[in-house]
Subunit: 495 residues, 2 copies
């Protein structure tokens, strides 16, 4: 197990100060060129050295005929070359003194015997020079805190806390938009490809040691080093949550995974057992993988599985209760003290049950401040799930009815949204209990967006919210094991 981040063999790769690029050119439709231009757009601080047999400059950077000509020994070499050229170029890098590489090129293990032979070659070259490399057949690594981005797409967002190790490059490169829409981000994300040298276990250990990573996500098509995986995960999970989506779970999925990276997928139940044993929280989809990482990285853990649902509409409250019930969460009745404290804020038509349904609201402001504050003080509740309906539109309408001018309405709406979202988001810290929102509208709308930017997750639908809350409860139990509590089975909705 890696003790400090700097000890990790991946540290000089993920935090490289300089890079050599093989396969980038001025032909901007080639994959190597796209990767370089994405990296340039991301704004890496250190020098980048394109190596090109004929060009003097590539995308505005001085190009070098060969790696031997480079003015320094870069920390990292990136390969987007045809597969037959990789071994000899890697050897030249080794001669130069380069000790870390990302091999994006495909055409190895995943394409059959000839490719497998080529893969053995590069493994041998790497061993000869002590090179550690990611790939081949990957998109490499994204370190948002270092503006390192070897993926195909440019990326310019606030750094985040989700560490990902993925056996598919798509779930690094093609999730940028998904993460941005949810106001979250990777800390560091690895696309491990064929795992010829660095594998998913190495990446997991790096992420465990990385203080900027609060939660580790894994996209798994098949684990190669089973024993090492279990050992590492068991050591990490009590300290830092691990969430995994295993795609080889069904016969159909298994066939797809096989042709994709050449990893042998095991049966679903085996992986299920491994995950339980290791304290890994299992996600059922890629969406859920990121949902779980989001709440585990953003929110405090609940003490138990007792929750309160707050709504102003019956159906959405009932649906939330249904989903929470199915996930094994408890909806206790409120204590008499809490009911008393709620009374000044709720109309007589309100339901003081659980869900708490305030019906047609007296005061929109109370809904996001005083009422959740009372509910979070309830000693019998460990977390709060809150229905959110179109507040910005409602605020605008109210202000219009109050006779404000259009210009003032926009400004006042913005102020009110800021005040209300700040009040709600602050309650998480005040009470040390998780709060999650859900809506049937688009989460891109201003009110939800602001909440998410302030660290409070909002989900499209109570079904995703309920599952995410369950992940928090599950991780609380994994933590408790370590604290010497009874070691009960970790599973969705069980206690």
């Amino acid at each position: 197990m890696t003790q400090t981040l700097e000890d990790s063999p991946l540290y000089p790769l993920v935090n490289c100060r300089s890079m050599a690029y093989f396969g980038a050119s001025n032909n901007l439709t080639a994959m190597g060129s796209l990767i370089l231009s994405a990296q340039l757009a991301t704004g890496f601080a250190g020098p980048i050295y394109p190596v090109h047999p004929t060009e003097d400059a590539v995308q505005g950077l001085k190009a070098y005929r060969s790696v031997a000509d480079l003015p320094e020994v870069p920390d990292l070499a990136l390969f987007v070359l045809p597969p037959r050229l990789v071994a000899e170029t890697l050897a030249a890098c080794g001669e130069k003194g380069i000790r870390r590489a990302v091999i994006v090129s495909g055409g190895f293990q995943e394409v059959g015997p000839e490719g497998a032979e080529r893969q053995r070659e590069i493994v041998a070259v790497a061993a000869r020079y002590g090179i550690r490399f990611i790939g081949p057949n990957c998109i490499g690594v994204v370190n948002t805190h270092h503006r390192l981005n070897t993926a195909l797409f440019p990326y310019d967002e606030k750094p985040g806390f989700i560490g990902l190790a993925s056996q598919s490059g798509s779930f690094v490169a093609q999730m940028f938009n998904h993460l941005t829409r949810h106001a979250i981000n990777f800390s560091t994300a690895f696309s491990v490809g064929n795992e010829a040298n660095v594998d998913i276990v190495d990446c997991m250990e790096y992420l465990a040691a990385d203080p900027r990573t609060k939660v580790i996500g894994l996209y798994i098509e098949g684990i190669r080093r089973g024993e090492a995986f279990v050992k590492a995960a068991r050591a990490i999970s009590p300290r830092k949550p691990i969430v995994a989506y295993y795609v080889g779970g069904s016969e159909t999925g298994s066939r797809a995974g096989f042709s994709h990276t050449g990893a042998m997928a095991g049966p679903d139940a085996v992986y299920d057992g491994i995950f339980r044993q290791c304290g890994i929280i299992r996600a059922r989809s890629v969406t859920e993988l990121f949902d779980f990482c989001w709440v585990l990285g953003a929110l405090p853990l609940p003490a138990g599985r007792r929750m309160v649902i707050q709504t102003h509409s019956g159906g959405p409250g009932a649906a939330a209760a249904d989903h929470c019930g199915r996930e094994g969460l408890d909806l206790p009745l409120l204590s008499p003290e809490t009911v008393e404290r709620l009374k000044p804020f709720l109309p007589h038509t309100a339901s003081f049950g659980n869900p708490v349904d305030m019906t047609f609201a007296r005061n929109q402001g109370d809904y996001f401040a005083a009422i959740p504050d009372v509910l979070l003080r309830e000693p019998g509740a460990d977390m709060l799930l809150l229905y959110i309906l179109v507040p910005s539109l409602m605020i605008e309408c109210s202000l219009e009815m109050m006779g404000l001018l259009p210009g003032d309405i926009a400004r006042e709406t913005d102020t009110l949204i800021e005040t209300q979202t700040a009040a709600l988001a602050a309650l998480v810290g005040t009470h040390g209990k998780p709060v999650i929102g859900y809506t049937y509208r688009g989460i891109e709308e201003k009110f939800c967006r602001r909440l998410m930017e302030k660290g409070l997750p909002v989900f499209a639908g109570p079904e995703r919210a309920a599952r995410a809350l369950t992940a928090l409860v599950q991780y609380r139990k994994i933590r408790n094991r370590q604290d010497g509590s009874a070691m009960d089975e970790v599973g969705t909705g069980t206690t």
Copy 2:
């Protein structure tokens, strides 16, 4: 069972030519006023008569002191009055000759014995005058083809094909935005409230007879007339698909449903049995309820459960295969003929398995036209699931690389998107097989939006897409029963 639409007792209500409003005023924060202003914004064509004890005009409409003063007998009376005033006002409406009503007011059965007594009163008044009414404790009805909207929110979208009968008003009024974002809409939607007179069975029968309704959605907290429900649903389901989300399914959900509309929720397994028996497709969430209605109304039915997944990225293909496999869908291998036909369009790195993974694309245009056309000609495949990644951004980048000017890029991008989405959407009709898209990006982006507007559903994530495909397969089996095929059990993923 209703034979024609005009025979339905609900016809004069849903297609009313004139309305009386009780409870609307010039105080725009009151619920009755909001409902009237939403109706006005929706643009109902016929006359609306506000009845108000003191005002001469309400929201710009001439107001009347009492219902007796109205210049004609309106087809419909809408009540947002305090509950104690409803019975006498309803009687006055009866005297006037009004025979249809929507009673939005709460404070009846759902609030206890006193309310139950008030409810018995209005039922008796209605019986005396032969009035049929929806409610109380509801938001009434939305008929998008008639610009009728008694819900709280204004609504101005293209009419649609989803008929909804809901025991929660929220899932009518608060879903407008959800539907709009998916480029779908209600045909007619009912919020049935306490079902004191018209109930969910009556609404289902109306929707069955309505030619503008292609699919019926039900949100159920508890069915009151079990036998009538089963009889009606069994008769309707072979002709028109019915999808239901039953919220009382878990103990927790059951408690919430109870306090909400006073319906007694039965255990989950009972409802599951009823749904199977009736040929009703069961949704697991509100999101899924609308997803299922969407594909059932928009797409042809597949002949079987054999599907092809088309992707250019391994991970998203594998994840789709995993979800489809878990849902019991088959991913057959392509026939040699199909493989031959694909070859001109795919690079040598492509996988000709299933998922078909074209990897780094040669020609973006082929991906949405020639390739799916070949795959839909495959006799061994009943439907197609297609991964969609950010094409508008990719198109813009390609055009930029080709040296186009910024103004031309925008126009050319738009033209290409139009061409490509039109080509793909047209294939559904050409082949008579369902095609569904999935993406991890926002479906609000232009490419997906255009596809949806052309009638091709695109889902956020393959998990939702796989479930939706399963609903199509399930409904094919329900239809087959009627055609004299073996009556096998209808359930997710079974054949």
